[in-house]
Symmetry: C2
Subunit: 65 residues, 2 copies
């Protein structure tokens, strides 16, 4: 299975946000993620990068106003 | 291997853009993609969605001005 693990970039470190991600959909200023198990999360920020072979998504929080 | 195939959404149809994609990185109004074989492409537009289990990225062209 080629599901991905989503990490959140926080103060230069990667923190696990959601495992076994199947669907990722940028929606304006948020990113919608859905896991294999139907778990849904909305992340305020953007995709920084996806590393498919490492099965990894890195998410970057929206800048604070 | 969990590389992805990138498709471009064109008039409601999906057209193959780049196979065996490993790295995807949104960069402003473009999306950088790099294949397993080191092939690099810059796409003018955005990520519409990623379907990990289907090993698929769908790209949406930037609206024309």
């Amino acid at each position: 299975m080629c599901d991905l693990n989503a990490y959140l970039l926080k103060e230069g470190k990667e923190e696990l946000f959601l495992e076994n991600v199947d669907v990722i959909r940028p929606e304006g200023d948020t990113v919608y993620l859905k896991s294999l198990f139907g778990e849904e999360r909305w992340f305020e920020g953007a995709i920084k990068e996806i590393l498919a072979i490492k099965r990894k998504i890195v998410l970057q929080p929206a800048p604070k106003h």
